[in-house]
């Protein structure tokens, strides 16, 4: 049998396979180079970037929960200048497309940042985080109000010609409404889901475990919610979707693709096993071969229901 086709197209970005890394779980790529061949990946999405370097939240910032984890990193990042100076040179050494996840504390900052990134040739595309639940200012509003989402995405769309992905929050009554607003505003692809807002408590200390009190729930625990949202959105919008949430294996990834995702992102799994994303990519190829599927695209949204 000839090798199956694994390549997909997300908003004009050509991926050699549908497996990307999720923002904030893969650093800037270099951290994982000792554990897997970055050339095995469809794309690398970098840690959420802002204009200025950002300190993030006090610690503890992470805590394990049943089948998942909470994080309240608070979007600590190096800021655009250091990103260009320190991170881009390494990313230039890999042929895998690099997508920059960005966020702003204000509407204007989103636009300004998108404009700056537009000028970086090494960046294949932009993923706009309107969904991070940790930053009071900004984040939560853009991600849960369709009108605010429309505005911020429109502004970013005007500020860059790069392929534009918008990442959706699951903490909403109707994710389809949010999805439509973003597409109407010019999003060429949607990634979903970001983390569910949760909390953990230390009984003996009678305190929240996270310094930030609440944090974002990720990992296998959220997979059913993520699958459901991808399926709901896929029925309604036409742009390609990137499925995210608790993907640990090639099987998980293929389930998201059946539900309607064109690509997937691997997040928390990178912590359990730093080679996960590579293993998942090769696992998908093996599955296609074993099941006589010539092209991954045959599976996108192929769920019988």
């Amino acid at each position: 049998m000839t090798k199956p086709n694994l390549s997909v197209d997300i908003a004009g970005i050509k991926l050699r396979n549908p497996v990307m890394t999720a923002s904030g779980t893969f650093g800037y790529g270099a951290e994982f180079a000792p554990y897997l061949d970055l050339e095995l990946l469809g794309a690398i999405v970098t840690k959420g970037l802002s204009m200025k370097p950002k300190a993030g939240n006090p610690t503890p910032r992470i805590v394990e929960t049943p089948g998942g984890m909470l994080n309240a990193i608070g979007l600590q990042n190096v800021g655009i200048e250091a990103f260009i100076a320190e991170k881009v040179p390494f990313l230039r050494t890999v042929t895998t497309p690099v997508i920059v996840n960005l966020y702003g504390n204000t509407l204007e900052e989103y636009g300004e940042l998108a404009g700056r990134i537009d000028a970086i040739p090494e960046v294949a595309g932009i993923e706009v985080n309107i969904s991070c639940p940790n930053v009071k200012q900004g984040g939560i509003v853009f991600g849960t109000d369709p009108q605010a989402a429309f505005e911020v995405v429109s502004l970013v769309r005007r500020s860059t010609t790069k392929p534009l992905i918008v990442k959706l929050s699951p903490n909403v009554t109707d994710v389809v409404v949010m999805a439509k607003a973003c597409v109407d505003a010019g999003a060429e692809a949607l990634s979903l889901i970001n983390t569910l807002t949760g909390m953990a408590i230390d009984l003996q200390k009678r305190r929240p475990i996270l310094a930030n009190i609440t944090g974002g729930l990720s990992g296998p625990a959220i997979k059913p919610v993520a699958l459901r949202m991808v399926w709901q959105v896929a029925k309604v919008v036409k742009v390609p979707l990137i499925g995210i949430g608790g993907i640990m294996s090639a099987t998980d990834a293929l389930e998201f693709i059946l539900a309607g995702a064109t690509a997937v992102q691997v997040g928390t799994a990178n912590f359990l096993d730093p080679s996960s994303a590579g293993t998942i990519a090769t696992g998908i190829e093996t599955w296609l071969e074993e099941n006589g599927v010539a092209d991954i695209r045959e599976l996108i949204g192929a769920l019988k229901s």
């Binding site: 650093g27 370097p53 993030g56 089948g67 296998p220 912590f271 096993d273 730093p274």
Partner: protein, 271 residues
Amino acid sequence: MQFKSMVLSNVEVSPSYFRMRMTAPPAISGSQPGQFVMVRVNPAIDPLLRRPFGVFDLGTFETEFTDCGRQSYLEILYKVVGKGTAMLSTLHQNDHLDILGPLGKGFIPGDPAGEKLLVGGGVGLAPLYYLAKELVRDSKVNLFAGGRNKEDVLCITEFERLGVETYVATDDGTLGARGLVTDVFEEQLAKAGPKATILACGPFPMLKAVALLAEKYNVPCQVSLEAYMACGVGACLGCVVKGKNHSDSTPDYRCVCKDGPVFDSKDLLWS
């Protein structure tokens, strides 16, 4: 590196303290004292995250049933405190583990001519054993070991066998002096030569006390910290501590997993 490992032994050396020996690739011998490994307790999702443990000892052993000569092993010394360590403690010989490591930055030996003052609290002794083993080759090594009671003070005989001079203090006086190990330590520190180096691992309050003493007596000091970790490789930013230049407006966070776990005590903010 990431490797599959097989448990060779897993023995309770003191109530709720276990010493586990496991196979490792030959490259493990490149580990620096103070580095750690992240252990995936089992392939299920409960517990989800890896657990970090210091390198307690390294060595080689003769394999019983094969011809492949001496193989490397890695040892950790751990205390059962929660779900992950409880599960670890039920593992048997031949059970499998997935290990990431050695990770992070270890202790820097410093001038061999100076004496080495090792300070350990409870399970903080774990990385100091491998450190002592390396240091005794060239230097005089003193160990100050503290704990709540005698069951908390581990492997003192092993340290003594290396030729380490040991000083013990326990909160309840069941072993060594009664009181804080830092008190015993200060007495000796006052007498230490100008080339001495302090190398400490233990609970945060102990490390803080040691760091302050180091400053007081102007002796270089390295401390090994703990923090909740997810990735272990500097990617998730979950494990940060405040660096010396930290303030709310000019943040200076360091990753315990990558920039540490061993830090020069002067590089950290202790307040």
